[in-house]
Amino acid sequence: MSKLLTDAPAPAKRNTLTKNQLPGWAIWAVAAGSLILGAAVSSLIGFSLVSWALISAVIFVIAGYVVTLSVEGARKAKDRFATNLIFATFIIAVVPLISVIWTVLQNGIAGLSYNLVFTSMNGMTGMVDNETVANGTEVLGGAYHGIIGTLLITMWATIISVPIGLLTAVYLVEYSKGGALSRGITFFVDVMTGIPSIVAGLFAAALFGLIFGPSTRTGFVAAVALSVLMIPVVVRSTEEMLKIVPNELREASYALGVRKWRTVLKVVVPTAISGIASGVTLAIARIIGETAPLLVTAGFVNSINWNVFGGWMTTLPTYIYRQLMNPTSPTNVEPSMQRAWAAALILIIFVMLLNLFARLIARIFAPKTGR
């Protein structure tokens, strides 16, 4: 062991602090060795980039553990093992996610034109697409009506669910004394997360059908359906975030004579606002991509509709789904595919903006911490 250390390039000034420690380059050496060994093993069973990466990673994690164990002892080895494993999970997670984004970008950028963003599909027929393909001209028709629909419906769903969700979470964490009601609410909120999205859509359609006559389809019905899906996510994430606000903060506030409701609004919620904003974003993200409930609640149109309370509306996910499943022209599906992927890209960009916005809110409202 000490022999290994004496081989190190800069052992000139060794003191007791660096004794029994691997030099900085050692882990890179292990990595390089793993890569070479991985290439050898993977070529034995039929070489491919994925198998090479996987086998190398496995070898690296094991070798890193063994090397550290031999030099630095069991505790350090375990630490090294955990570190490597966590880095490995990160890489594993990144691969499919990058692949998804890459697929969307690759297919979507080509279709992202002025037409797509600023025109609807009004008057578009398969004939137009056939001509487009035959003449090689620019793809006509766009997702503008879907963009409007998505923004309006999501906005209304958020307006409905965020106050309800937040207040419920506050009730659960701050006001309930662990009674039957709060346990019931917690439990049934969990159950609500499992409502299949299509059921939420059917429920909203049936509810409005009873009140406003059969098959009432408007953007607002869709917003209600989406709220049913969104509320549990808001409650659940907010509840978790409120729970981890340290009790000391509340007690300090009470000790200063601050009323409970002001404590909640001025101390507890701001402390947790970053997490809450993240949870709300997640909830919006969860519903902005819903397809099934929208088809039965908001209908599907080709023209622009700005009125949430009257007339059918199209949203981006239903637009994407329809373009993929029922291309405008069955004989020439390419223009429809192009529009679908581009619309998916727009949807992702929206969520990106939303995320930025949530972070901004979190930064503005969050109390300054040392973190």
Binding site: F188, G194, L282
Partner: protein
């Protein structure tokens, strides 16, 4: 703050109004859920009273539903088994391992991924993932075919249960990661620093100071992910080449409740419609059971919560 002390009347009203509001919101949720359940029951009722031979498959509702219940559980299990360790790992990476600047960017990307519509995941599954997995499946069938779940011959389109499970795990990964990350970040800094000061390695610190604190939250995150995996329709419907219940995960076969409902719903009417809604009801019950178990686990760790 003296203001609050002198104006006790106003403060008290504020307290009452606010607690009343929160209570009302909670009750509203219960009411909505009750309505949904009542609606489901009301629509599903004809199925349970119907002549067994009239149900799809001709052997009654339970014979129809149990294979797809198992299929649903298999898909969700694959998704959870793959996504939970990876999701928690990534969350830890972002919260405790990556440099701060990088971590913020990564957190942002992960949040973003939660928002990709399931239709896109489905399209990705068909276009990219399924063809890429044909090779590994064939290899598995040849070399590990003696394990029932890898029994060959492997599907030549790659549209199998395992593929669907992987797509689901990719879909729920951002949910698990995003929430776990927030929880890990909230772990008491003092405990962490104390552990490090005592000479603990980073991993020991995480094990001693972060995990016990975060466990209920992480379980919550996993449950949210599970909820999505169980109820996911479009992605599974697009990726899975469904069929009867089989043990092998690399052949076409198996079906999930949500996909079954989504695939057959548009053309369904009368008894078939009621059958599909009854299937939805079963999914509802499964979620209920899963959540009961999760709640029970969390309740055993309640002492770590900040506000008890």
């Amino acid at each position: 703050m003296s203001q609050t002390l002198t104006e006790t009347g106003r403060g008290r009203t504020g307290d009452k109004v606010f607690s009343g509001l929160t209570l009302a919101a909670g009750c509203l949720i219960l009411f909505v859920l009750f309505c949904v359940a009542a609606f489901l029951l009301w629509q599903a009722l004809p199925t349970f009273g119907a002549d067994p031979s009239a149900i799809s498959g001709g052997n009654g509702f339970w014979a129809y539903i149990w294979p797809i219940v198992i299929g649903t559980l298999i898909a969700a299990a694959i998704a959870l088994v793959l996504a939970t360790p990876v999701g928690v790992g990534v969350a830890l990476f972002i919260s405790h391992y990556a440099p701060r600047r990088l971590a913020q960017g990564l957190g942002y990307v992960v949040d973003l991924l939660a928002a990709i519509p399931s239709v896109v995941y489905g399209a990705w599954g068909i276009a990219v993932l399924a063809p890429a997995l044909v090779g590994p499946y064939t290899w598995l069938a040849e070399n590990a075919g003696w394990i029932p779940i890898f029994e060959g011959p492997a599907s030549q389109t790659g549209k199998t249960m395992l593929t669907a499970g992987i797509v689901l795990s990719v879909m729920i990964l951002p949910i698990i990661t995003s929430l776990s990350r927030e929880i890990f970040l909230q772990a008491p800094k003092l405990h962490e620093e104390a552990a490090l000061a005592m000479g603990a390695t980073r991993w020991e610190m995480i094990k001693m100071a972060v995990f016990p604190f975060a466990r209920p939250g992480v379980i919550s995150a996993v449950m949210l992910g599970l909820g999505r995996a169980l109820g996911e329709t479009m992605a599974v419907a697009m990726v899975l080449s469904g069929g009867g219940l089989i043990a092998s995960l690399i052949k076409s076969g198996n079906q999930t409740i949500a996909a079954e409902v989504a695939l057959n719903f548009p053309e369904a009417y009368g008894l078939r419609l009621s059958e599909l809604i009854a299937a939805g009801l079963v999914l509802f019950v499964i979620t209920l059971a899963v959540n009961m178990i999760a709640r029970w686990i969390i309740s055993r760790h309640k002492e770590f919560s900040g506000a008890n």
